[in-house]
């Protein structure tokens, strides 16, 4: 049975989540640069408007038409490939198995 405290917890979670969601989208703007890090080290930094294919040890990152996406990955879950294209400031693609982060700034 739901009690008063439950509703307080639900509301707090919803409020926190939605507030942070607004914070995420507020001031969202098209990014300029792409930063690719692998195992904590920056391996590529370049403009989003320069078409380029960056090959890492396990992932292939493609930058074209102002978007960046991971074309292929050698891992099992393919989360990074399924993330799709990113182009807005602050958007990221993360590949946990290979510790690769693609970030638009």
């Amino acid at each position: 049975m739901l009690k008063k405290g439950d509703y307080i917890i639900f509301l707090s979670i919803a409020f926190l989540g939605v507030a942070l969601l607004f914070f995420n989208f507020f001031g969202k703007q098209t990014g300029k640069t792409v930063i690719i890090t692998e195992k904590g080290e920056t391996v590529y930094e370049g403009s989003l408007s320069d078409d380029k294919t960056v090959t890492l040890s396990g992932n292939t990152v493609v930058i074209e038409n102002g978007c960046a996406y991971i074309e292929s990955a050698n891992c099992k879950n393919q989360v990074c490939v399924n993330t799709g294209e990113i182009s807005e400031k602050g958007e990221t693609i993360v590949c946990t198995p290979n510790r690769v982060v693609v970030e638009v700034e």
Binding site: L2, K3, D6, I9, F10, I13, L16, G17, T83, V94
Partner: protein, 163 residues
């Protein structure tokens, strides 16, 4: 003692099976780490029986085994951070009378995801912070669902207050 150990082992196995089934049914492709978290129902079961040591033992066993079987060293760090954070949060609210299992579970789910992201923050860098709102909301929803399931289990399973 022997009975207790075998019960914990059994419960850890149940957690592993839950985890395996969940890994077969990915809920979303876009945000990593979103799942129902059915294993938490076992922790909830033990916590509501005031068996805090047992809950901790089963949880840590489950995480170590699941990392060995299906995961990587990083998934171990993520799970451990998430599980310990959510256990601590649920322990804090365990004695609050106006919070039921469902609320407890929702809280646990959210805190689990926050701590998991915190671990990812250190391993992968600050970029992962944009997942935070999604993970908070997803943790709350999946936690509440797991809580409802746990409440049903608690009603059915008669343990006479001990295992």
């Amino acid at each position: 003692m022997a009975k207790k150990i075998s019960t914990y082992a059994l419960l850890a196995c149940v957690c592993l099976i839950f985890g395996y089934i969940e890994s077969l049914v990915p809920l979303t492709a876009a945000i990593p780490g979103i799942k129902l978290g059915l294993s938490n129902s076992v922790a909830l079961l033990l916590l509501t029986k005031r068996d805090i040591k047992g809950a901790l033992a089963v949880n840590i066993t489950r995480i170590l085994l699941s990392a060995l079987l299906f995961g990587s060293p990083f998934s171990l760090v993520f799970s451990l951070s998430g599980a310990l954070g959510s256990m601590a949060a649920m322990l804090l609210f365990l004695k609050v009378k106006s919070v039921s299992v469902v609320g407890l579970s929702a809280l646990g789910g959210t805190v689990h995801n926050i701590f998991q992201l915190l671990a990812a923050f250190f391993v992968l860098g600050s970029a992962v912070k944009y997942y935070l709102p999604f993970l908070i909301l997803a943790g709350g929803i999946s936690g509440a669902l797991t809580g409802i399931i746990s409440e049903l289990i608690l009603k059915k399973v008669k343990t006479n207050g001990k295992f």
